[in-house]
């Protein structure tokens, strides 16, 4: 059926609630309102307010109590309303959620899914457009994933909830209203690509563009324009940011010899740096040009009227492609 990204997540959460009585949702405004992006719309009505819980307005509280529930066998799915509000919960996530499995040598784990709408492009005020993925990818014990389209939104949320490791689940908010035809029944619980696998979205021969979350669509637009100009780009949607599927990226770069990584987050010490370093190690002899990064500038996320300059757009990606091809 034709569905939006947000509605696909809603179906995924609904089925997770149906399948496993230990799954519960918690967060601010997720009940009657259905979340500020309506991702949990109607779920409280159908599953009750002890499985779809409107919590007090306290992020450390949300994640900390979810952690406690997980210790008793529940599988909480927390919603953080916006990226910029996860920081009050940062201590709970990195000090406790991420470490419990290691701390107890596998005796206790924390199967939490922490959903975070992230990234910009919706013209919002400060703290509503951040890309904090690097902080979490840098933390051992956490899995970090981000779907870029409605079908992945459904299959990835299902897989994330089923996983025994804690998952930071980033939802690119400017894609919430994107539509696609998704066959939920065919996807089932475990179908779709495995959670930690990248997807080659378009194949190409001249250069590889790695993107994730909100920038996948941007990279695909760039590839379309490049094709008109006679350049063939291979676009990879990373999907999982920790772990990263370097095999898929390596395979592509071995073929194209060129790599451009794009993300909204500032480039300094961002995921692009990690990918550039790994691929340089793995593909040293195949690379025809240095790995280039196209990302946000190393500045606080700017006010809305400037975000179009800050966010990578197809033109900036294409400029990097040109530089790479000229090398």
């Amino acid at each position: 059926m034709i569905t939006t990204f947000a509605a696909s997540l809603n179906v995924g959460l609904r089925r997770a609630l149906e399948d496993d009585p230990k799954v519960l949702l918690m967060g601010e405004d997720i009940g009657r309102l259905g979340g500020v992006f309506r991702v949990t719309d109607t779920l409280q009505k159908d599953f009750g307010d002890s499985r779809v819980i409107d919590t007090p307005l306290a992020e450390s509280g949300i994640v900390g109590t979810a952690f406690g529930m997980a210790l008793r066998g529940y599988r909480p799915v927390c919603e953080i309303q916006f990226d910029g509000f996860v920081y009050p919960a940062f201590d709970q996530i990195v000090s406790h959620v991420a470490k419990i499995n290691f701390r107890t040598q596998g005796k206790v784990h924390a199967p939490l899914t922490i959903r975070i709408p992230f990234g910009g492009g919706i013209g919002s005020v400060e703290h509503h457009s951040e890309s904090p993925e690097a902080y979490f990818a840098h933390t051992a014990g956490l899995r970090v994933v981000t779907p870029s389209n409605p079908a992945d939104a459904y299959s990835m949320i299902r897989q994330a909830i089923a996983l025994d490791d804690p998952v930071i689940f980033f939802e690119p908010k400017r894609r919430y209203w994107d539509k696609a035809d998704v066959d939920f029944d065919a996807l089932g619980r475990d179908a779709g690509l495995p959670l930690d696998r990248a997807r080659v979205c378009t194949t190409g021969t001249d250069a590889t563009v790695v993107a994730y979350g909100g920038t996948v669509a941007t990279a695909l637009s760039a590839a379309k324009i490049a094709a008109e100009e006679g350049h063939s780009l291979e676009v990879i949607d990373l999907r999982s940011l920790s772990p990263i599927d370097f095999d898929t990226v390596e395979e592509s770069v071995a073929k194209t010899g060129r790599l451009i990584v794009t993300h909204e987050a500032p480039v300094f010490a961002g995921l692009g740096a990690e990918i550039a370093a790994r691929i340089t190690e793995r593909c040293f002899y195949q690379l025809e040009a240095p790995v280039l990064r196209v990302g946000g500038f190393d500045i606080p996320y700017p006010p809305a009227k400037l975000e179009k300059h800050h966010l990578p757009d197809p033109d900036r990606i294409l400029a990097a492609v040109d530089r790479s091809l000229a090398a």
Partner: protein, 370 residues
Amino acid sequence: MPGQPDYPVQLVQPDGRRVLDPEHAALVADVGPEQLRALYEDMAITRRIDIEGTALQRQGQLGLWAPLLGQEAAQVGSAHALYPDDYVFCSYREAAVAYCRGVPPTELTRLWRGVAHHCWDPHAVNMTNPNIVVGSQGLHATGYAFAAHLDGAEIATIAYFGDGASSQGDIAEALGFAASWSAPVVFFCQNNHWAISEPVRVQSATPIARRAYGYGMPGVQVDGNDVLAVLAVTRQAVARARSGGGPSFIEALTYRMGPHTTADDPTRYRSAAETEQWARRDPIDRVRRLLEREGHWDYAFELRVTEHADEVAHQVRTATIDLPDPAPTELFDHVYTTPHPLITEQRREYTEYLTGDPDEASARPEGVPR
């Protein structure tokens, strides 16, 4: 609960009749007809500013607006209790407080239009800019108050926040620090009954003001739609802070008549009946009834207030529409106070990318204003 009245402090009833409360009435004994009219005028003007903000958003001139409709008495009453050298830490809804602090109406919308992350110069009016991360300002206010105390400055610092914010760890920690340090800070909770879609019961099983006692400071609940009562209890807390008496907590019971922000749809979570019930407690009507009852209302005054409010709203409107979009290179301004090689490089590269001209790119060093 010792020291706490079982009802909110009230000095004027919704129909404009005075309430017999000698203790609190004494705190506003000096407020005669002229000052009452001044309170009325500020409330009417800030309501007009607020309506203009919503209209400007609807017309696409603002990206967002957080209406204060219904909370005029809580904001204007408390702001009138402050001295110019007191310092205000606000959330994102205190446009009326800002107006009373002397923020030019032309500076109220910058952030909401998306051209900057701030609205006014904080030190020019001793009031911080809108703060989006809910509750964080409670700690900032406590730190500021303690620093003022260390300096020997006899001022009060006030932190405005909502009922939802009272759940944040930052507010709990602020109460703890303030009590521990006897910091001269006033915690002013505008309990407008809703944190977006969550009723106050989700945040607390007890009146929020009661928490103050657990931390060792007085907590008072006030009818937040009664401007005189709010003025009275805030004066008391401010006087206490300024004279070295330490922190206090005020919970003003009020109601957010509009949506949470212009992006919100309150019909999804609350009943029209509830909103109508609160409309009957309108804070501005109440002062008007009091003035009428006591013979201080006349048509000339009403006309003057309307004209003044229209004029201020006009200023807000034209200033907003005239705000230019920032230049792309402003991305790189003020990230640091001193030059930073990474930013300098990115500014040069991006300017070159935009203009195709390497000379223009290096013409203006970082940090030099245009």
